[in-house]
């Protein structure tokens, strides 16, 4: 079996194990739309007296925040569970000759596909629910896909380093929640440290796509930088975990 065949076999197996839980798949479709609408309604209740430092209307930025949060958080938790549930199988596959990088690519492919589905649903929901027409839906999708991919990889890193469902979930859920609030810019936090938050740049890309109808090229490179960083970390963490016998 060559490398490509092994990777394809891994992708098929992990995708199959995921779609066997139809309720989870339904949630991946329903929760983004629900989140966008609820965040829009939620932010619409705040008075426009300069509390929030946002570009565009507060309700629109609320919906964008809901979209980025849903895409990132759902993909992240999925990445975590994919890693934890596959640990024992992957250890056996490693003994059979699979390399760590092939295994992690197979796991990430499922997360990437799920993120893309969530991204499409979220983009369509934004187009339908935002008051003004979304000028650049493709750019919005790109930002959402980046949010999903970055958090999917972060989930893989957490799942590799801390392969326990309760502890990993606690860590990832809190990271996603805090990161999302920082990324939203709602509380006027201008400290430069928040620019390192994984969702900061995808959020800026989606906001500009929705509010201004253009692609935020100045945020694209940092977002891709985050993506590359987490890709490297996830390969390193997972390879070490599998090759060390899964006890890392």
């Amino acid at each position: 079996m060559n490398g490509v065949t092994r990777t394809v076999a891994g992708i098929r197996a992990s995708t199959r194990s995921f779609v066997r839980e139809p309720f989870t798949v339904v949630m991946l479709v329903v929760l983004p739309a629900l989140s966008i609408q609820i965040y829009g309604v939620g932010m619409g209740q705040f008075p426009d007296v300069g509390i929030f430092a946002v570009t565009g209307s507060v309700a629109t930025v609320g919906r964008v925040t809901g979209a980025v949060f849903a895409t990132g958080a759902l993909a992240g938790v999925l990445g975590l569970f994919q890693m934890i549930s596959a640990r024992h199988a992957d250890r056996r596959l490693a003994i059979c000759g699979f390399r760590g990088v092939e295994l992690v690519v197979a796991r990430f492919a499922t997360v990437a596909v799920a993120s893309a589905v969530v991204g499409v649903v979220a983009t369509l929901s934004l187009v339908v629910l935002v008051d003004d027409p979304v000028g650049a839906p493709a750019a919005a999708f790109a930002g959402l896909a980046l949010a999903g991919a970055i958090y999917g990889l972060l989930g893989i890193v957490v799942g590799s380093v801390l392969p326990r469902e309760l502890e990993g979930s606690l860590l990832l859920v809190i990271l996603a929640d805090v990161d999302n609030v920082f990324a939203s810019g709602l509380f006027g936090i201008e400290d430069s440290i928040t620019k390192f938050a994984p969702l900061a740049h995808p959020h800026a890309i989606v906001t500009q796509a929705v509010v201004d109808g253009s692609l935020a090229t100045d945020h694209l490179v940092p977002a891709l930088g985050h993506l590359s960083l987490f890709a490297l970390l996830s390969v390193a963490a997972y390879t070490y975990q599998v090759e060390s016998g899964g006890d890392a």
Binding site: G42, Q45, F46, F81, L166, E167, S169, L170, I174
Partner: protein, 244 residues
């Protein structure tokens, strides 16, 4: 507490103790989430709607008070979810071995209560390092009520849904309820938000944080909400562990 319940609770505590990573996270995450906001929010005053009156408070104090129920709700919800899922197989065996449904319910509720106390203590400790609530005891009590409410919700969700789906629900529910719809910066909250799980407890918490008077109705509402949820949780738990 009878011997069976005491044994089950002791085992639960021992399980907590054997997972130092979990204890470390329960102590560290409140410091991270509350501390990060307190340190990073701008040094301005914000107009918050407390008990129907607009009160101007420093943003850092507001962040400390506001992020406390958010943190406790998220942590307690997830702990409740995993507590019941991790103990499901053991509960089935205990039922077969002679534990009554009441024994199991009391055991698991006691363990959940202990977990919520740990989460509440860690969160309140971080919060009071950042600001001094006007009424500290009601502040702690209201925070505990938020934790218990979401802990019980986590148990119910854990009994009804799988782990991944459950985490999804417990990831979104506190964010939507506490962060979006119980935010005292809002002036135009929809009527239906008063039916959300944390409504009364967060009202009581903000009263205690920023005013010297605490509305007994809010506390009563929060306790009633938790009791009703607990009754639902017991019913669902009883059905889930019924071996007949």
């Amino acid at each position: 507490m009878n011997r069976r319940v005491a044994t089950a609770v002791t085992m639960g505590i021992r399980e907590f103790r054997r997972t130092p990573v979990l204890l470390a996270l329960l102590a560290f995450l409140p410091a991270y989430i509350i501390g990060a906001f307190v340190l990073l929010v701008p040094d301005v005053n914000v107009p918050a709607m407390i008990d129907g009156t607009t009160v101007t408070v420093p943003m850092a104090n507001f962040a400390a008070a506001f992020m406390t129920p958010v943190t406790v709700a998220i942590l307690s919800g997830i702990v409740g979810l995993f507590l019941v899922q991790a103990s499901q197989a053991a509960d089935d065996r205990l039922r077969l071995a002679g534990y009554s449904a009441t024994d199991l319910v009391v055991s698991r509720v006691s363990t959940l209560g202990l977990g919520t106390v740990v989460v509440t203590a860690a969160s309140v400790l971080v919060a009071v390092l950042a600001f001094t609530p006007e009424s500290i005891a009601p502040f702690v009590a209201a925070t505990l009520l938020v934790g218990l409410t979401y802990g019980i919700l986590g148990v119910v969700v854990g009994l009804v849904l799988g782990r991944l789906s459950g985490v999804y629900v417990m990831l979104f529910a506190p964010m939507v309820d506490v962060l979006m719809f119980q935010n005292p910066l809002a002036t135009d909250a929809p009527e239906w938000t008063r039916f959300l799980p944390s409504h009364y407890a967060t009202n009581a918490l903000f009263d205690a944080a920023f005013t010297s008077s605490v509305d007994a109705l809010d506390f009563g509402g929060a306790v009633a909400y938790a009791v009703v949820l607990l009754a639902i949780g017991i019913l669902v738990f009883y059905r889930a562990t019924d071996v007949e």
